[in-house]
């Protein structure tokens, strides 16, 4: 499947048929997940309704890491096999990942104020997520600094792979250090520690975020592939 996607024409054909489904599914999942999170799910017995922020904060945080891992996989694909579509994926995913990280940081801050009494704390998890945000910005900056598309793509890929060490640091930061941020409640040995009435809306919202990202990634990649075609055509025209 990977080699099938590596061909830009095949990617365009496949994504054209897939896109309406992705977009529709994303909208449907939000339509189910939002009322569920906001109205149907019970308030937390300790934090009350403020805990509903979890239903946007946690999916955003999961996405910020998942998008980075996607970029890392695409980066490897580009560096090792030279798949241009992989480079397109890295370029498109970077601003999306940065946005999810920003959502996670902002909603986390808004949750921290009622929960911990502070807008920010320099514990291990918040610090490493902030570092992740700067890694995304750095990847975008490096991309824009070079005119040669291939060179910029390879430089960006190298940077993404160097920064990948941050992801396990984020994941395990709450275990390794004494942090204010609560420890893992879902992805942990022994299964989720969270009540099903809260777990299900969380999973629906997480799926909504994921499918929305997939849809946006596909649209963005199609746009980037078309952009490269336009530029190639215009250059050929200019040469006469």
């Amino acid at each position: 499947m990977i080699t099938a996607l590596a061909n830009p024409q095949r990617f365009m054909a496949l994504s054209r048929s897939l896109l309406p489904w992705l977009a529709g599914l994303a909208v449907a999942l939000f339509a189910i997940g939002l009322p569920w999170s906001l109205f149907i799910a019970p308030p937390d017995y300790q934090q009350g309704d403020a805990a509903r922020i979890m239903f946007v904060h946690v999916p955003a945080a999961w996405m910020s890491m998942a998008v980075y891992m996607t970029m890392a996989a695409a980066a490897i694909s580009f560096l090792v096999w030279g798949h241009v579509v992989a480079d397109v994926a890295v370029k498109t995913a970077a601003p999306l990942g940065a946005a999810f990280t920003a959502i996670a940081l902002i909603t986390g801050s808004l949750w921290g104020q009622p929960m911990w009494g502070t807008w920010w704390v320099w514990d291990a998890r918040l610090t490493s997520v902030l570092v992740l945000f700067f890694l995304y910005l750095g990847a975008m900056a490096l991309r824009g600094a070079m005119d040669d598309e291939t060179k910029a793509g390879k430089a960006c890929a190298i940077l993404v792979l160097v920064g990948v060490i941050n992801i396990p640091i984020i994941k395990f930061s709450v275990d390794w250090w004494n942090t204010l941020h609560q420890p893992a409640s879902v992805f942990r040995a022994g299964g989720p520690a969270i009540d099903p009435s809260l777990l299900w809306p969380l999973l629906v919202m997480a799926l909504a975020f994921t499918i929305a990202f997939a849809a946006m990634l596909v649209v963005g990649m199609r746009g980037e592939i078309l952009r490269r075609r336009v530029i190639a055509l215009e250059m050929r025209r200019a040469r006469g």
Partner: protein, 225 residues
């Protein structure tokens, strides 16, 4: 010329270039001193406050000094073609990078360690902590220079590459600065070598020594052709 001789020559060449160009060893040292001196200006002269914050601020100044020197690591040699020559010479580019970074550290990092005792006294850091602090700054500086070589290589030859390299280096600097400053503070208050943070700093520097040269070499190859 054996490989070791060649690498030693590169180390010494970069060290000399760093020393000779623009004020020699005095310039990075003066920048480090000036940046450290900002601490009492910014925070006030209260000695107890300075003792608490001093080690951390010294580390901040070290990180800034390292960021400022990133641009000169590869840019000059890329522009005048020396880097192309070195790449063609048959010496593995990874080792060339490691030698250049080591040379730059000798020129721009080691002087900082040498003047650090004076700055420690200025920042009210207890004298018994100075040997530990010097070791801390030496190892930490080495780690900063090595990990910084990756963004320096990626941004070499780009317009405003120095600023871009510094921006890219900032997230990579977070672990050594956190561990190094914690170790320095521990050394200042407890009198040991900095305990667990110091070990983590050493681990980071070792990891940087091992992983940065290949990554930076890969980045440099993008610009050489």
């Amino acid at each position: 010329m054996s490989l070791l001789h060649a690498l030693l020559a590169i180390v010494l060449r970069d060290a000399k270039l760093g020393w000779v160009g623009g004020g020699g060893a005095a310039l990075p040292a003066a920048f480090f001193a000036g940046a450290s001196a900002l601490a009492p200006f910014a925070l006030g002269p209260d000695p107890q406050l300075l003792t608490k914050i001093g080690p951390g601020f010294l580390w901040l100044a070290l990180a800034l000094s390292a960021l400022v020197s990133l641009e000169r690591l590869f840019q000059g040699d890329l522009e005048d073609g020396t880097l192309d020559q070195l790449a063609l010479s048959g010496i593995p580019l990874t080792l060339v990078v490691a030698a250049k970074v080591l040379g730059q550290w000798l020129a721009a990092g080691a002087p900082l360690v040498i003047i650090s005792p004076i700055l420690a006294l200025l920042l009210q850091i207890p004298p018994h902590a100075i040997p530990a602090l010097m070791l801390n700054l030496a190892l930490g500086g080495l780690g900063l220079f090595f990990i910084g070589s990756i963004p320096a290589a990626l941004a070499a030859g780009v317009r405003r590459g120095g600023l871009l390299a510094a921006l890219l280096a900032l997230p990579l600097y977070a672990p050594p600065v956190i561990f190094g400053a914690a170790a320095a503070s521990a050394a200042a208050s407890l009198g040991d070598f900095g305990g667990q943070p110091f070990l983590l700093l050493c681990a980071f520097t070792l990891a940087a020594l091992a992983t940065a040269p290949p990554a930076a070499a890969a980045g440099l190859r993008l610009h050489l052709s």
